[in-house]
């Protein structure tokens, strides 16, 4: 490669690199600055050193919200794994020539608008929704027969629906990369299906599982629209709390919440990036 060409390729990095520095890195420094600020009487940030904003995050008033957010995100991620792994396994092993088609079918609903997908559950399971209509028609007692909206189940179910493809895709990719003769070898060595799964298939696909857990867990923890549409005051998540602060609340507190959320998410991200980097280095 000529020197001139290398210079050209270096230049290619510049526009997007600068864009990300200006619009991704720089904004974070402002969030950090605001998280330590107070406000003037118009609600505009006055910069300074006010770590109280962070103390407020761990105020007993808000602890339930933090715990609930974590619990919802963990539950949604676990459910996605329980549902997603068998589906990915099924498609990768037994999908045959329909594999690509089935994977497209898994992704396709995700491309329906995010809000519409959440709202759809309102249509199906709302108090005036389809299921309650059917149950009422067959004579189930109660008005409505089933209450789903405003319960934790609604929010967790909505989160699972939002992010399930993100769990299935990386697990599928890992299963597809895996040599199927490995499971046969496991069976030839008199392993039971469970043993074969635990000692052969699972270790070979754990990378995909980690990727899926992060890809579902990160957005689930930061989500606010699902809890807002399918939930109520009892299902408030940290995303709702943040959103409120930037609506009519106190911006510095909102910024501090955002930084705390980001810190938790960063731990997950570092974990993911390190585990993603390992096989790349091994194959290089």
């Amino acid at each position: 490669m000529s020197v001139a060409a290398n210079r050209l390729w270096r230049l290619m990095l510049a526009p997007a690199g600068l864009w990300l520095v200006v619009f991704f890195v720089a904004p974070f420094s402002i969030v950090i600055a605001v998280s330590l600020a107070t406000t003037d009487f118009l609600g505009r940030p006055v910069f300074g050193w006010n770590p109280e904003n962070y103390q407020q995050v761990f105020d007993p008033l808000f602890i339930p919200v933090l715990v609930r957010s974590a619990a919802f995100a963990v539950a949604a991620t676990a459910l996605c794994l329980l549902i997603g792994y068998p589906v990915a396994y099924m498609i990768a092993r037994f999908g045959g020539r329909f594999r690509n088609f089935l994977i497209v079918l898994i992704i396709l609903p995700w491309f329906a608008d995010y809000l519409v997908r959440i709202y759809a559950w309102f249509v199906i399971l709302g108090d005036q929704g389809v299921v309650n209509g059917l149950l009422h028609a067959v004579g189930f007692p109660g008005d409505p027969p089933v209450t789903f909206i405003n319960t934790p189940f609604a929010v967790i179910g909505g989160l699972v629906y939002d992010f399930l493809p993100f769990m299935i895709l990386p697990i599928y990719a890992a299963l597809e990369r895996m040599d199927p003769s490995l499971t046969e070898a496991g069976k030839d060595l008199y392993g039971t299906p469970l043993q074969t799964f635990l000692h052969v298939t699972w270790p070979a696909t754990v990378q995909g599982v980690v990727a899926g857990v992060v890809l579902v867990g990160l957005p689930a923890l930061g989500d606010f629209a699902t809890a807002q549409i399918l939930g109520g005051p009892n299902t408030y998540m940290i995303g709702n709390l943040i959103q409120d602060q930037f609506g009519s609340g106190y911006w510095p507190f909102g910024a501090a919440l955002t930084i705390v959320l980001m810190a938790v998410l960063s731990l997950l991200m570092i974990f993911y990036l390190r585990s993603a980097a390992r096989p790349a280095e091994a194959s290089a």
Binding site: L13, F28, N132, H136, A225, F246, T258, M269
Partner: protein
């Protein structure tokens, strides 16, 4: 494997063979059958597909309901679509969303493609940090970047408008383009470019005449993907939109907050059709080239 298991299974429906050797075979065959023909898995996967598609289809179905109810389907009608056309707010939001998505697509595709070239081909210390930055951007939840945008724009004194929405959308879109194009670029054999250079092309000509034509499907597919993601985006738009015309997802959001109306079913179905058609087109473009490549390799 599964065929073999099935044969053994048919031949010995009951494990009555006295010889220990045969016993082992039978036991393994039964175990293998469970493993290789998991009827449970088929049913489970089918149920998951129902779960994935039912909500969308229900919304679509009820968008054609002549009645306002979500429980009783009256007769087939386009009433709610007619209502949409009369609603000037929704029309202007639709136009705004298309504009935002189009500008985002063009800018993000150019920036992302350049970044892919840089990351694959430049020999430089900046490659690694830029690549990491792109990945971080990709995995950072939108609520965090959305708030970062809100604070930056307000500190800079920028009025929130469609322009600020576009800046937000371009930022989250670049990484998707780069990842798709980079994958394809890394797969292209450098020798075809070297062959062009042997035939007298300079560096730029080799890229323009040889590499870019091979990359076009990946670039177009990623551009379509960006269009759809921008068109559907809610969270980033939520924090970067000012007063005035709102992108369509925000319009839907305020409609939902006012309560369930059949109009939402109609506008939601319309968005679904638009995005799914674009996504399928992108897949088609991408898959056709892959098939062409396979055919070329087979020759």
């Amino acid at each position: 494997m599964s065929g073999q298991a099935a044969v053994v299974d048919q031949a010995t429906p009951e494990p009555l063979a006295p010889m220990s050797h045969q016993k082992v075979v039978v036991r393994r065959a039964v175990a293998a059958r469970k493993f290789d023909q998991p009827r449970f898995l088929y049913v489970f996967t089918a149920l998951v597909f129902v779960y994935l598609f039912a909500p969308i289809l229900v919304v679509f179905w009820f968008s054609f309901n002549s009645r306002k109810s979500l429980q009783v389907f009256g007769s087939f009608s386009l009433t709610w679509y007619g209502k949409l056309l009369e609603d000037s707010n929704i029309i202007s939001s639709l136009v705004a969303s298309v504009e935002i998505a189009f500008v985002t697509m063009v800018v993000a595709t150019v920036l992302g493609t350049m970044l892919a070239f840089g990351l694959v081909r430049a020999r430089w210390w900046a490659n690694r940090p830029t690549g990491t930055l792109m990945l971080l951007n990709l995995v950072t939840p939108e609520i965090v970047t959305g708030i970062a945008f809100l604070l930056v724009f307000s500190q800079l004194g920028l009025t929130l408008s469609l322009g600020t929405v576009i800046i937000g959308h371009i930022t989250f879109s670049i990484a998707y383009v780069t990842i798709i194009v980079r994958g394809r670029l890394a797969a292209i054999n450098r020798e075809v470019e070297e062959a062009a250079q042997d035939l007298g092309a300079n560096d730029l000509q080799a890229v323009r005449l040889v590499t870019l034509p091979l990359l076009w499907p990946a670039i177009i597919a990623s551009g379509m993907l960006v269009f759809v993601m921008s068109f559907d985006d809610f969270v980033t738009s939520f924090f970067t939109t000012g007063i005035g015309v709102q992108p369509l997802p925000l319009r839907i959001y305020s409609m939902i907050r006012f309560g369930v109306t059949p109009e939402i079913n109609a506008v939601g179905s319309l968005m679904m059709v638009i995005t799914i058609v674009i996504v399928l087109a992108a897949l088609f473009v991408y898959a056709r080239q892959q098939r062409a490549r396979l055919a070329f390799l087979a020759e």
